[in-house]
Amino acid sequence: MAAPEGVRAGAEVRLQGLTKLFGPVVAVGDVSMTVPAGSFFTLLGPSGSGKTTTLMMVAGFVRPSRGAIAIDGIDVAALPPQKRDLGIVFQSYAVFPHLTVSENIAFPLEVRKVSAADIRRRVGEALELVRLTGYEGRLPRQLSGGEQQRVALARALVFRPRVLLMDEPLGALDKKLRGHMQLELKRIQRLLHVTVIYVTHDQEEALTMSDRVAVMRAGRTEQIGTPADLYELPVSPFVADFVGESNFLDGVVVSTNPDGRALVRTVGGLELSGVSREPLSLGQRIVAAVRPEKIVPYEAPAAELNRGKGVVDQIVYAGDATRYSVVLGQAGTLTVKVQNRLASRPLATGDVVELAWDAGDTRLFARAADEG
């Protein structure tokens, strides 16, 4: 299973207008996306956003109400799960409790009638891949959560599927172990060139592991892009808030610039300039978003910068950085994140502080009618 012989390049997965209705409830609505062959693709969203339902439709456990699923151009919508040749790692691992580690991993090979000698060799290779050599005879209840996770992974990969589906596989692990398993997963994915579709609600996990991320909300894809795209160029306040963290300020457009920049006046009279993906018109109501780490306190004023003056309200020390809540009067409260360096002067509650940030880091979003 190590790269040379086992390599079978991952397949491209294409979803077209995929929809799942549960009675009148739209669980997944008209989702279309292309997962490039051999890429690590993440469905990211809060619970109830339809990401797991989408994954289960790809797996074949949930029948789509409408739409097509194609793997390397072949429509699989009518195939039962066992004919789709997909590796799946379930949230609960679903390791067979009555079988030993090697029996678990041999399972997909045995149902495919692989010869005993081949099974022995490939189980050994799979165990090596997930670094569980020596655990062959153990039963799942003698394993830790992380080890069971590796068994589930080895079992899902041993029959060389071209696509690996993973449903929040690291959710039950502690933070340290999760970080370690993230690196392991990436290593294995690069080694095998398998296409991975990964479901998570953890935006940090999505950013660090994925080649591309689809942010889902209420059954629809809100944005599909690289992690940097999502973080730096979110298409909506939802993405700006869900991926990373953002401060939001309400306002109206007071002047526009052909280059996409606009000047806005926020509630409370703050004048900010920012950028928008779509053209804005004068007087339009907008919401401006800026990330906490882009705001710099006590910087010398410069022409390019947006500025505001406020009072430090709350301070949260988080080791690498300190987060300040700064009240800007009527305009609202901004969260500011400052790296803890020797040079950075700690602020105290009640301090009056000048904040500054770049116009380019200020994203402007037109407010939808239903958002009042």
Binding site: P81, S92, A94, F96, V111, R141, R155, A156
Partner: protein, 306 residues
Amino acid sequence: MLATLASSPGRPMKADEIAPVVAPMEAADRRETRQYLLLLLPALLALGVFFVYPLCGILLRSVYKNGYTLESYRQVARTSVYLMVIALTFRTAAVVTLIALLLGYPLGYVLATVRPRLARVLVVIVVLPFLTSIIVRTYAWMVLLGSNGVVNQYLQALGLTHQPLRLLYNQAGVVVGMTYVLLPFMVLTLASVMRGIDPALVRAAHSLGANRWQAFRRVFLPLSAPGIVGGALLVFILSLGFFITPALMGGPSDVMIAMLIEREVEFTLNWSFASALAVILLALSLVGFAAYYRLVRLERLFEGLG
């Protein structure tokens, strides 16, 4: 819990191995043990008075007849009729257990996998017969199976048979009646184990390429084994001592051991002999249980799964 944390994986640590380390806690442990014993006391007393004491009485009586003697046992061993009754009792119990398992397994599966609300309704339906007396239910079967009964009328009306079939007062009648009475024990035992099987495991089997039969055969069936073992054991043991149904629905040659015991007590007043038969039934049940236990390694099944 403590043991699992402290031990290296793969080697369960015994309680006495950690006892010296936690010496200060020993007193508290003893107090806790005493409390548990206190809670057990009423049940132990009741068992002692109403079960162990009479059982000892039966044991004694089986070897006492105008002085201590093994005459009653010798009589059983000598008389082929008694041996045949014992054999028939075990055979009937085995047949009933097997049929109850075959009928109960799919039903248990349905109970365990349908939506919870429907499952509750089905459980009530399964348990409903318990709300009537077993005698009433047995008579109901006799009405159904008699030569002028509903079943025979339908069979004749459909032209499947010209003569009424003999469905009653023979081995078939006994098996039908006993299976009917004991089926709920099998179904409920199976369903409770099946409900504990994570549906994701069967899904996982499918995702790994197993078809429906392979997923059932290699994942669901072995995981439901504790239910099969438990249900079969329960039904078999209850069958061995069954009395009313075989007495009413069986023929003259379908005598089961419980009926024999009853006759010795009621008519011949040979209490020593009746006691000997009871002891033999108990001993054979225990031997059967022990063999079964070794065969399926109950212990391992129950600790690992469920």
